[in-house]
């Protein structure tokens, strides 16, 4: 069964067709890279899937369920979680509180308007073990805004990982990271459970080619081709598309 099906997705900003008929199907458990030159509509595509932008036309299905035009919070509850290109953290709060809020978001305790936070032990423990998993256990008490850049990227991904997502949308997780930080992030992503379906938008082609099972190339708002890293790497069309914008 496909985890994610996108059919005929269109989005126009004024005269600009940012998304021009995207069709995609991602099988459950696949790690799918989305690459393409700047302005190909990658982030817009993610924003539509995760509910932040309504499409002009087309449909998005998650495990057979139509999620087009559902609000972002609802989509998150269906197991579709995303990270942001520019870190979107709770800067003034501790790493632990950031993670706790991420875990609590799908826990029934989020409706508790009277009890103490400490009473919900499972949420706290899940937040701490998530910190352990992503290598932030020694930063629990630090304010998110004070973390180093690479650690912010780790926390950014960690927030999307809370409570077992089924589909993970990662928007340039390594953007702006140093080579060392990139390696840490790559390890983190590689070690994710195989049953999580991942869609990865990334400019670092090494990362995409090493991590992904298949890659879709997005050019001018539609899918130019989908194939294994070898197929995409060998494609003259893809090279032309990249070179084409390089000249523009």
């Amino acid at each position: 069964m496909s985890a994610l099906v996108v059919a005929g997705l269109r989005k126009t900003f004024g005269a600009l067709r940012v998304t021009d008929g995207i069709d995609l199907a991602v099988p459950e458990g696949e790690r799918r890279g989305i690459i393409g030159p700047n302005g190909a509509g990658k982030t817009t595509f993610f924003n539509i899937i995760s509910g932040w932008l309504p499409p002009d036309a087309g449909r998005v299905e998650v495990f057979g369920r139509d999620i087009t035009r559902l609000p972002p919070a609802h989509i998150a509850h269906l197991g579709v979680r995303r990270s942001f290109q520019k870190s979107a953290l709770f800067d003034a709060l501790s790493v632990e509180e950031n993670l706790r809020l991420a875990v609590q978001a799908t826990d029934p305790s989020r409706f508790d308007a009277w009890g103490r936070i400490g009473r919900h032990r499972r949420v706290l423990e899940a937040a701490r073990s998530l910190a352990e998993r992503v290598g932030l256990a020694d930063e629990l008490g630090r304010r998110a805004g004070e973390l180093s850049y690479g650690r912010k990227r780790q926390l950014e991904i960690a927030l999307a990982l809370a409570e077992k997502p089924r589909i993970l949308l990662l928007d340039e997780p390594a953007a702006g990271a140093s080579p060392y930080e990139r390696r840490l992030l790559a390890d983190l992503l590689r070690d994710l459970p195989r049953d999580i379906t991942i869609m990865l938008v990334e400019h670092d082609l090494d990362l995409v080619f090493n991590l992904c099972d298949r890659i879709s190339v997005l050019v001018r708002g539609s899918v130019l081709m989908t194939g294994t890293p070898e197929e995409v790497g060998a494609s003259g069309e893809v090279q032309a598309a990249y070179l084409g914008t390089a000249h523009a």
Binding site: F84, S94, A162
Partner: protein, 332 residues
């Protein structure tokens, strides 16, 4: 557009600093004990002032749920203050209800009022939120001025206090009324504290820090925001009822933008980064008013100067300044 904009927001709060502070519940207990002792050591004049400080402190702490915790600056909190005063006035004086049921119904009415207003205002944020809350509170003010049954411009006198004669308590006397206000103050602050520190309330801080991320995680933030606004509105309405009883008078002035602005000043002077900071702001506000109004009627001018000094000297208000001093002392 997707929120998280810094426009009109309050600077973020260090969580580490917050959690390291004295447990607020303990501080509140000590403060309440000291406040309970006040009538034994102070003159009637100071007890009357203390009563008003408690009422305004309750109003300021509730306003800070929006300003400090949620990061939304409302310039319309006087609408709830005035709603409380006039709700009580209308039920008791026009329809001759007994006082306590009238207070309970006014409180319930303020929740409905806050939910209705909040559903409209919370479609905006930043400066637009400030302006729309101002607009709605001015609408209420205009209605009150044009309601002759309620005394119109002149207001309405004779707001009753609860009858506790059966228990030998006369709330028209200064000290019993002070204790009555103190009990409601302590109870309400405890409820506000439990609410804002609960799992549900913690999402309100997440909204201030990054509303977009809170929604991406799966929070339907509108419910948390509306609940916060409603709880704050109900507490402000209670403060308004107490103020009307204190003055035994309700006038449209209670719902005016000036009252909204003054409570914001109290919050900022006292410190929006702590739960009890705004209460200190109310104390400072009344102290300056009383101290200076003997000398000059332009006390607000001096209050403004003090405000600037407080903001310049301690960026986190008086309570933040005290924290900084305490931290230095402890380090030695």
């Amino acid at each position: 557009m997707t929120a998280g904009s810094a426009e009109g927001r309050v600077p973020p709060v260090p969580a580490s600093a917050r959690s390291e502070r004295l447990p607020v519940v303990a501080a509140l207990a000590v403060a309440l004990a000291l406040l309970a002792a006040l009538p034994f050591v102070a003159s009637d004049y100071l007890v009357v002032l203390g009563t008003e400080i408690l009422i305004l402190a309750l109003f300021a702490v509730s306003t800070n749920l929006l300003l400090g915790y949620m990061g939304y600056v409302s310039l319309g909190q006087a609408a709830y203050f005035g709603f409380g005063a006039y709700g009580l006035a209308a039920l008791t004086l026009l329809w001759e209800w007994p006082t306590v049921p009238a207070m309970l119904v006014t409180l319930a009415g303020s929740a409905v009022f806050a939910i209705a207003l909040g559903s409209l205002c919370l479609r905006t944020s930043g400066v637009r939120f400030l302006l729309i809350t101002l607009a709605f509170s001015q609408m209420l003010y205009a209605v009150l001025v044009r309601t002759p049954q309620m005394g119109g411009d002149n207001g309405i006198v004779g707001i009753p206090r609860p009858e506790l004669d059966a228990w030998g308590i006369d709330l028209w006397a200064t000290v019993p009324f002070y204790y009555y206000v103190l009990v409601l103050f302590g109870l309400t602050l405890l409820i506000l504290y439990r609410f804002i520190k609960s799992p549900f309330g913690s999402v309100i801080v997440a909204v201030r820090e990054n509303e977009m991320r809170a929604r991406a995680l799966g929070y339907e933030v509108w419910a948390n925001k509306l609940a916060c606004l409603t709880v704050a509105g109900m507490a402000a309405a209670l403060a308004g009822m107490l103020q009307a009883q204190n003055l035994s008078f309700a006038s449209p002035e209670l719902a005016s933008w000036r009252v909204s602005a003054e409570v914001l000043l109290m919050v900022i002077i006292g410190g929006w980064r702590s739960f009890l900071g705004p209460a200190i702001g109310a104390l400072v506000f009344i102290a300056i008013r009383e101290g200076l109004s003997v000398v000059t009627e332009h006390y607000l001018l001096f209050f403004g100067l003090f405000f600037m000094a407080a903001v310049a000297l301690f960026r986190e208000g008086v309570s933040g300044g005290l924290d900084a001093v305490l931290a230095k002392v402890r380090r030695r």
